[in-house]
């Protein structure tokens, strides 16, 4: 943003609502022309508005969710009875690796960021996300990484080393060929994309908030996305480094993880889980934000214990980084290591419990409006608390050692991730679908979706606890009848069928409601945050006039005399920059226009990343088009120079 023209702004620019230099319709036309990203084939590759990119992110992430779910269904069919040969062992290895990698890297993190991209600028009361071109670039990169992985899979080169790809299994000796390389490079793609989005969201929340939205008035989803983004910035480089070191071991014969040459295989696990455990909270924390928004809206009261909820999110963010070794209890650690990480792993339950109690108190003291978003949140309570309890059990070294790498762990993390993230996410979709599309989802189909998914989920994953306690290891291709695991596995497969049916109801609901659902209006739920202060779907400029806020629940306390922001040009993409702590007006910044160069830069990056899997020289050769496209991206345009000169004269 700093490279863009800036103008001074002060609190005198806050003016009472009645006074417009031109008619509202005329002003809206101007804004539409100024902020429109264009239509048509070539414009599609140039669009940079957060609602456009956010929609693409959401749709892409759910496409990967469906693919990951399909892979899960294949696994459940394979395991439905003993000595099944529905899939070959080699293909099964690819399927479970692709399932885990898809869900963790191509769905769970991107979908949370997707909702952040779409909702945060609206919630903050601004016209676009910070660094909009970077936002577009991140989406292209994310899509290319996902496509690369699935093309490899279709060509029977899908990774087959598990979603965390431990060496030495994933090293050059035990995984010849290109399968693990594609996995490692997919990590690079998705991590670069995630880091870019994290930077955008932090900047948007810190610098683009509506006037009056001081730190103590940021919506809880905003806080959650802020914590999430900081966690991404601290955690993701670790896994990008880890996967790059693995690639170097495989491609240019370094020995980072080769003990025979002085490397250390456990180093990989430490670095991976330094990312991997915070990853759970990276996924979970935005979901907590969604839960807080839904509960406040459907209890029709401000959320109980706002400071405690903020503190719990902050504590999750910090303590989440102090637990990674509990994934490595079975590797043989000093007793001190066990004690440290057991203590921290137990303590992380406290902030989560604080949040649950605050939400219960909100519901208890509110006037509940039973709608599908809230019902998904209630489902989340039940499932997440069970997942949290098994998490506390797994923090205990003796139990962890006993059930390590069994289906007990599989059950635990699905309870945490599906219960803790997917249920709130589904609730969030029912909640925000009217804002994004302008139409309501069907409540009846929503209930079908909820019950089928809820029952199916518990049928699928609860028996896995028992399977794990009976000793069934995870990732086994098949098992013998005399193991006694057949019945529980069959029940789990039936549960997966229920879940699939639930998802089909959901897709049908989206399809029919998008086409002919009842019109939503601006604020169908009577919610309090700023995304509901504009049309549904929002115009490309988000708000006719930039809003100001006078409380934590601005739409519930708004008056006709609420000031609005004046002084922004409507013939240029100007936004108001505010101060970090108190959101006081600081200056005006002109945002970039659509550009094809983020797309071309992403293509050049993709060529470099994919090429380097096959030949190290691709790094040198690929750097040339990448440098060219980035240069073109950042090259000052004539209108920007003219604007800057004009502003210089005005100053």
């Amino acid at each position: 943003m700093s490279s863009q023209p800036q103008r001074e702004m002060n609190s005198e620019s806050l003016e009472p609502r009645p006074r417009t230099p031109m008619s509202d319709a005329e002003a809206r036309n101007w804004l539409q022309r100024t902020w429109d990203d264009g239509k048509g084939f070539t414009s599609w590759f140039q669009q940079v508005h957060h609602t456009v990119i956010g929609r693409r992110y959401i749709i892409t992430a759910f496409c990967f969710f469906l693919l990951g779910g399909l892979l899960a269904a294949l696994m459940r069919i394979q395991l439905s009875h003993p000595e099944n040969h529905f899939l070959s062992p080699d293909f099964y290895n690819q399927v479970f690796t692709m399932h885990g990698s898809t869900m963790m890297f191509l769905f769970a993190v991107p979908v949370m960021e997707a909702f952040g991209i779409y909702m945060i600028p609206l919630m903050m009361g601004t016209r676009n996300i910070a660094f909009p071109r970077l936002n577009a670039y991140s989406w292209y990169l994310y899509v290319c990484g996902g496509i690369m992985l699935y093309v490899a899979f279709v060509l029977n080169t899908g990774p087959d080393v598990g979603w965390f790809a431990y060496p030495p299994l994933s090293g050059p000796d035990f995984s010849p060929g290109k399968r693990a390389d594609f996995w490692a490079q997919m990590i690079t793609f998705t991590e670069v994309a995630a880091l870019a989005v994290a930077v955008e969201i932090i900047t948007t929340i810190f610098k683009l908030r509506a006037v009056g939205m001081s730190l103590n008035r940021i919506p809880l989803f905003g806080w959650a996305m802020l914590i999430h983004s900081f966690m991404v910035i601290f955690a993701m480089p670790a896994v990008a480094l880890d996967s790059s070191m693995l690639l170097m071991d495989r491609l240019i014969s370094t020995h980072f993880f080769n003990p025979a040459e002085g490397g250390d295989a456990l180093l990989y696990q430490h670095v991976f889980w330094f990312f991997g455990h915070p990853e759970v909270y990276i996924i979970f924390v935005p979901a907590m934000g969604i839960v807080s928004e839904i509960i406040a809206t459907f209890s029709r009261r401000p959320v109980f214990g706002y400071p405690a909820l903020v503190l719990a999110l902050v504590a999750n963010g910090f303590v989440g980084f102090g637990l990674w070794v509990h994934h490595m209890f079975a590797t043989g650690l000093p007793m001190m290591g066990y004690s440290f990480f057991t203590a921290a792993s137990l303590m992380i339950a406290i902030p989560s419990a604080v949040q649950i109690f605050c939400w219960i108190a909100t519901l208890w003291t509110g006037r509940i409006n039973w709608k599908t978003p809230l019902i998904f949140v209630i489902g989340f309570f039940a499932i997440f608390v069970l997942g949290g309890l098994t998490g506390v059990m797994l923090a205990s070294v003796p139990l962890d050692t006993q059930v390590h790498d069994t289906y007990f762990v599989v059950a635990h993390f699905h309870y945490v991730l599906i219960g803790g993230a997917l249920f709130p996410l589904f609730g969030g979709i029912y909640y925000w679908f009217p804002k994004i599309t302008g139409r309501m989802l069907s409540e009846k189909l929503g209930l079908w979706h909820f019950w089928l998914f809820f029952i199916g989920f518990n049928l699928t994953f609860f028996p896995m606890h028992i399977l794990g306690l009976k000793g069934m290891p995870r990732r086994v291709y098949t098992y013998l009848p005399q193991n006694g695991w057949g019945t529980m596995n069959f029940i789990a497969t039936v549960g997966a069928l229920f879940m699939t049916a639930g998802v089909l109801f959901w897709l049908y609901n989206i399809w029919t409601s998008y086409r002919r659902g009842p019109l939503a209006g601006d604020n169908p739920w009577g919610a309090s945050s700023l995304e509901w202060a504009t049309n549904s779907p929002p115009p490309i400029y988000n708000f006719d006039e930039l809003p100001t806020v006078n409380s934590r629940t601005p739409l519930w306390t708004a008056t006709a005399e609420n000031p609005v922001i004046r002084g922004l040009r409507i013939d240029d993409r100007e936004v108001l920059i505010t101060r970090v702590l108190d959101a006081e007006p600081d200056h005006i910044n002109s945002f970039p226009k659509p550009s094809p160069w983020p797309f071309w830069s992403a293509m050049a990056t993709t060529a470099l990343f994919v090429g380097s899997i096959f030949n190290g020289y691709a790094l040198y050769i690929g750097a040339i088009p990448l440098a060219f496209t980035l240069t073109m991206w950042f090259w000052p345009k004539k209108h920007e120079i003219a604007l800057e000169e004009a502003e210089g004269v005005r100053r």
């Binding site: 001081s214 102090g322 440290f340 406290i350």
Partner: protein, 113 residues
């Protein structure tokens, strides 16, 4: 009067920093302690971390007293400062508890096993 931003951020962040520092430093000092028998370095590191976390709570308490007349959901600087002061106290005390929880096993287990 409004507390300084530095003191407010100190209250919020020092507990977390002390927790992270204690975990990393103590863990990396174990080989040294076991090879030399100087176990006091472990206690010193934890003691310092605990004091730092508690200093955050004290700072938060001071900031809270300064903003006694403010409200935590208001729109003024004093209101926002009071909110940050409360966050600081709670965060610092919470992290001090975690530091203590991590230290307790050290009295019962030998770090060298």
């Amino acid at each position: 009067m409004v507390p300084s931003k530095l003191s407010l951020w100190y209250g919020i962040l020092i507990g977390a920093a002390a927790f992270a520092g204690d975990q990393q430093i103590t863990y990396s000092l174990v080989p040294h302690a076991c090879s030399t028998g100087h176990f006091y370095v472990l206690y010193c590191a934890t003691g310092i971390a605990l004091l730092l976390a508690l200093s955050g709570a004290a700072m938060g308490g001071r900031n809270l007293a300064v903003t006694r007349s403010a409200s935590i959901d208001g729109g003024t600087r004093a209101d926002r400062s009071r909110f940050m002061a409360i966050l600081g106290i709670a965060a610092s005390l919470g992290f001090a508890t975690i530091i203590l929880a991590m230290a307790v096993p050290r009295f019962m287990l030998s770090p060298c096993d």
